[in-house]
Amino acid sequence: MRRLDIDTGLVDRARRAASLIADSTQPIINAYTTTSIERTVLRLLGLSGVDENDVPLPNIIVEQAQAAGLLGDGIAYWIGSAMLHEGLSLSQVAAGLSSGKLSFHRIPRADHDTVRHVIQHEATRVCSYIKARRLEREGLIAGSNSTAPPYLYVIVATGNIYEDVIQATAAAKCGADIIAVIRSTGQSLLDYVPHGPTTEGFGGTYATQTNFRIMREALDVASKECGRYIRLVNYCSGLCMPEIAAIGALERLDMMLNDAMYGILFRDINMQRTFIDQHFSRMINAYAGVIINTGEDNYLTTADAYEEAHTVLASQFINESLALRSGLRPEQIGLGHAYEMDPDIPDGFLYELAQAEMARIIFPNAPLKYMPPTKHMTGNIFKGHLMDAMFNLAGVISGQTIQLLGVLTEHVHTPHLQDRYLSIENAKYIMNNARHLRQEITYKKDGIMEKRANEVLAKATSMLEQVAEIGLMSAIEKAMFASIKRERTGGRGLDGVITKNKGYYNPFPEIFMHELTSSDFSPVLWANQLEGEGRGGGCK
């Protein structure tokens, strides 16, 4: 069926530019590792736990190696050397290092090939575990009822994981398909992952491996009761991007918020650190069959949604390009966009719908994540509920995959139980009532919507081409994204960027990429694979 007529020539140009932009980050990704990547290696090798001061063991060991100036060889190399020299197991080495019985200064360099042999064995074991968890998810999806997209995504944020479980279970029973546990504020700036179950957070709940497990188990119970597979989301962003990806992979999280530039722009995290971290974290997500969600909605929280719509599209192209380089399948790249225009704009709904359709057409296989009005919600809950309804209508007409439900009390408080119930009811009503409207609609040739979509595309293309010319990092230095200026050597976390030595060793990228680039890697993500729509356009 004919939808909007989008200039495919421009789409190709934009993709080419985005590809060049992604290439411009590659030299850094190749040349450096980070403290968070090395901690991730330890976590994947099975190390968790904290010392008596709640400092995670991976932090203690990586800090020691960094202080000894050995991190450039890769923590895996030195752990392997220690295992060989002391004749100890991995966990014994870890215990020795964290208690001070062992010291990196006293570990002699072991033969590289022997180290690889020892570590490879451990790494392969954990990778098969992660793969088994992916297959477990696929089994659960296959055994559950299929519902049609848009999938309803809601948020819980009590700060207490046990309270979150109650709210999440209630939301699932009301009809939510996807539950995101909002993180405690400021966690993105912590250079460690907190440990254990947590019951006190600010504006959200700490992302910890135990909290992931508690929520996953609760949602597995709820999935069984509801007959649908309920997906769990957390945040793979900030200074611990790859570590969160690792614990999410181990605990079978289904989606991760994982944007390539969000931390740089909105959290002032160093750009080199972020580009290096996002690459490895996305590789883990890809291997675990996780769907990533990108954070383009953030561009509109400060800027005007009508004027700056092209920055969303430009960022989607860049996120896509970078994600593909980490081995993610297009079906795993949940590009974000948002319904944030000022409700007073005449024909605002047409512009929103035009942009939503445009995203659907340009990224046909992406499980697009559509985010609700927040900026213009006022506390008038009645009008807010209506705005959310219009947003839901735009979502179902334009065939979005993941619909983050708006809540009528946005701008008032973090959602109460009944707020979530009302927003799910709103979405279910509209999406059921207008279920096949999408198939009945064609848009007017050269109409308001078609013009709007092409105008946004043209602006995004020209922006991408400008960025491609000077490289992504220079563009950020020139405040070309969200009007926020960040320096290459500024921001948090640069002290955790380490030059790789010639013999640098990390066993995981090779194992991951081997699987990700094989032709039979095709994770099952939704129950309705055959229906097509929502896994991507398919109906152009």
Binding site: A157, G159, T169, A170, A171, A172, K173, C174, T185, G186, L189, F202, G203, G204, F266, R267, T301, T302, D304, T374, K375, H376, G379, H411, V412, H413, T414, H416, L417, Q418, Y421, L422, I484
Partner: protein, 259 residues
Amino acid sequence: MDIDKTRVRPYGDTPDDGYMQLSFTLPVPCSDESRRAAEILGEKMGLEDAKVVYSHNIADSFSFFVIYGRCIHSVDMTTIEIPKVNAEFMPFEQINRFIETRIGRKIVVVAACTGTDAHTVGIDAIINMKGYRGEYGLERYPWFTAYNLGSQVRNEDLLAKAIEVDADAILVSQVVTQKNVHIDNLTHLAELVEAEGMRDKVLLIVGGPRISHELAVELGYDAGFGPGTLPSHVGSFIAQALARSARNMREPTRGENLC
């Protein structure tokens, strides 16, 4: 319509009928008993003829209610006093002229949403060029230099920026809060400013839908701005407060003796 300001009651469709609606959730399954419980709760809240007009199960173990009832209470509005920000509100041009003549240099303002809050809408409306309801934000004022640090800014970073740029005023926005964390967060900022010895060198201003001027002053701020605040309100206050403190510098410390 003649309204007795000493006995104000809700208006449904006739004066003083007291009609109100409310919605809430009880942590019990929906049943005849829980519906009655909801009505009794309404009555205890002072609603006569509380009637459940809608009830629904949420997830087997909760029930949602919409209730109408007639409020038996009334309010004496003549006794209400709300402390208001101490400023005469001026329009854009006048504020700029005021600063030019009374202060003679640009006023520097640093603003942020601090702590858990990711909602920059309030601070953006006050600071950003574009402004709010047709009024320009402080960025647009020739006699203001404004820095908007965005959301989820740590108090330490906000104060650091203020010191770095020699700010005259710090503006904090708290829109969405949970379990009153905004109180702790605002307290922490005020303590930080005081401990750093900066309290007499900078105006501390907070804004947000649940912020009253009264609360702000109690927590150690110079002003608190509630919903509906426009950039010119904040601009007027800052300009006048700075002019006042400049004048105060010249007054004797002990004040005026009335004995």
